[in-house]
């Protein structure tokens, strides 16, 4: 699944570790989501959306 996580993180000048800590997941999980190797669970997708104050579908694209 395509997503804009890396772009959103870059806009805030956050490292992967910073974003991982804010989401309470491992840095490896953030990396795997950014590279499309792992799709987050629904609760994590909601946490991501809340953190960036966006809707889930504005961050994740299931048609990509």
């Amino acid at each position: 699944m395509k997503n804009r996580l890396k772009v959103l993180r870059a806009e805030r000048d956050w490292s992967q570790a910073e974003l991982a800590g804010r989401l309470d997941v491992s840095r490896q999980a953030v990396n795997a989501i950014e590279t499309g190797k792992h799709d987050p669970s629904l609760p994590l997708a909601f946490r991501i959306a809340r953190l960036f104050d966006m809707k889930i579908e504005e961050i994740f694209d299931d048609e990509g």
């Binding site: 890396k6 993180r9 870059a10 805030r12 000048d13 956050w14 490292s15 992967q16 570790a17 910073e18 974003l19 991982a20 800590g21 804010r22 989401l23 309470d24 997941v25 491992s26 840095r27 490896q28 999980a29 795997a32 989501i33 190797k37 792992h38 987050p40 669970s41 994590l44």
Partner: protein, 153 residues
């Protein structure tokens, strides 16, 4: 410095501290697991009254004083049951997925490995199945599946 490097080192904040705390907990967990394993190994070698070894083919020759055996049983339960279950609750979805693949691999290795071993023995190809061998099948299957999930999935 590449753009990716910059992204991975920029803006230390509260999230970085939480990530460092998570890593520290992970190392503590691994240290505790290693310490438990070390104490079990040391105790079995120090107190063994026979010629056995817990993690080798001659485990049946292991003879321990009853009190030591009880303490070791508790430590084995802590090391192989309580600690992994605790760890499983602490990790995130991504790592849980790898662990589930690992557990599945270990389970399937035993489910398929034992009957295959038994029929090969019946055909005269291999020695009879033995407990440690079946245990090792599960362990190797689990570890191999985990590594596959970690680096290939």
């Amino acid at each position: 410095m590449t753009k990716d490097d910059r992204l991975n080192t920029a803006a230390a904040g509260p999230g970085e501290e939480r990530t460092r705390r998570r890593l520290r907990t992970q190392w503590l967990y691994l240290g505790l697991a290693g310490a438990i394993g070390g104490v079990i190994g040391l105790s079995t070698s120090l107190f063994d009254l026979g010629d056995g070894n817990l993690f080798a083919g001659n485990w049946a020759a292991l003879k321990l004083p009853p009190a030591v055996a009880l303490v070791l049983a508790v430590m084995l339960l802590a090391g192989f049951l309580v600690l992994p279950l605790y760890g499983f609750r602490m990790i995130d979805d991504y790592k849980r997925e790898h662990n589930l693949v690992g557990f599945t691999g270990g389970c399937l290795a035993v489910l398929s490995g034992f009957p295959v071993w038994a029929v090969l023995h019946a055909g005269g190809f291999v020695p009879a199945p033995q407990a440690f061998g079946v245990y090792a099948l599960g362990f190797v299957g689990m570890f191999g599946s985990f590594l596959f999930a970690r680096w290939r999935l």
